[in-house]
């Protein structure tokens, strides 16, 4: 499971890419422990193997400012995650 742009602070060995992180087999768990810092904002995570991303295996990440530490705009009335992407009907094994 990779996270575009989120720094891997002191855990570069779990960047969620094949080669550094082993694939997680079906029906098993792996817990990523991340320390996030200074990157107040929006990211998303996705599986890096086997086109699982194309099948919808993604979600948004919000890194919030600590209470009392301001961001350069007023608190919005709502906060929506908008995940947009191209979409294929084909399985990746027949896609080309």
């Amino acid at each position: 499971m990779d996270r575009n742009g989120v720094q891997n602070r002191r855990n570069s060995y779990v960047d969620g890419m094949y080669g550094t992180t082993c694939p997680i087999p079906p029906r098993s768990n792996y817990t990523y422990i991340l320390q996030v810092k200074d990157q107040i904002g929006s990211f998303y995570y996705f599986p890096s193997l086997a086109f699982h991303k194309a099948a919808g295996g993604f979600g948004g990440i919000r890194i919030l400012s600590r209470p009392g530490i301001p961001v350069p705009f007023a608190d919005p009335a709502g906060d929506y995650t908008v995940l947009i992407g191209d979409w294929y009907k084909f399985n990746h094994t027949v896609i080309i």
Partner: protein
């Protein structure tokens, strides 16, 4: 050994197909044109039917997703509900495989405030190019007359431009989105580069 001569039922077959796909992509070949574009797992009725949509529905996260009761069978677009006069943050990520996308909202301009963990100089845009892997935050203010408005996402730099719509709904609105779906840039590379260059880091000097 080529994939064609492998028994299709074996695991090896998949292995060879994937190797084939990988080598083609590594040589720079693109994936074929996608069949549609999804906004939080949803599309407009034109490109998606019930069965096809089911898989992607699981990715919907926002508590404000709902399907209009009257149009249950046909309505798969994604709906954002806003209250007039208020300002909302949209965190837009391109979670696709290949296509750059342009995001825009009918009659609303967006104020860009953040890109992947960095606050930006706050610039108004009427549409925003989001390339694969990018995440942007924009603020929109519900300052139009209370009805529904199109949220439009269309593909960039493709031969065939694919468009999908969601809905920005003012709370209590019973007027569906209408009028032409707002157009955006399609194949203009310069437009995209210029917009990217216009996005600047917000330093303390600006505050």
């Amino acid at each position: 050994m080529h994939a064609n001569v492998i028994d299709k039922n074996t695991h090896n077959y998949l292995f060879f197909v994937l190797q084939d796909l990988k080598s083609r992509l590594d040589r720079g070949r693109k994936l074929p044109s996608p069949d549609g574009i999804l906004i939080n797992g949803r599309s407009n009725g034109a490109t998606l039917n019930v069965e096809q949509g089911v898989l992607a529905f699981d990715v919907c996260q926002s508590p404000t997703i709902f399907v209009l009761p009257k149009l249950k069978r046909k309505t798969f677009f994604f709906v954002y509900v806003v209250v007039i006069g208020k300002t909302y943050r949209l965190r837009i990520s391109n979670v696709g495989l290949q296509d750059s996308l342009n995001f825009r909202i009918q009659n609303h301009r967006m104020k860009l405030v953040e890109v992947e963990g960095t606050h930006t100089l706050q610039t108004m845009f009427s549409s925003l190019d989001v390339h694969v892997g990018q995440s942007y935050s924009v603020l929109i203010t519900a300052d139009q007359s209370p009805r529904d408005y199109y949220v439009v996402v269309s593909s960039r730099f493709t031969d065939k431009i694919i468009t999908t719509t969601g809905v920005l709904r003012y709370s209590g609105s019973s007027t569906p989105a209408s009028g032409p779906i707002p157009g955006g840039p399609t194949i203009q590379v310069d437009w995209s580069l210029n917009q990217a260059r216009a996005i600047r880091y917000l330093s303390f000097l600006h505050m």
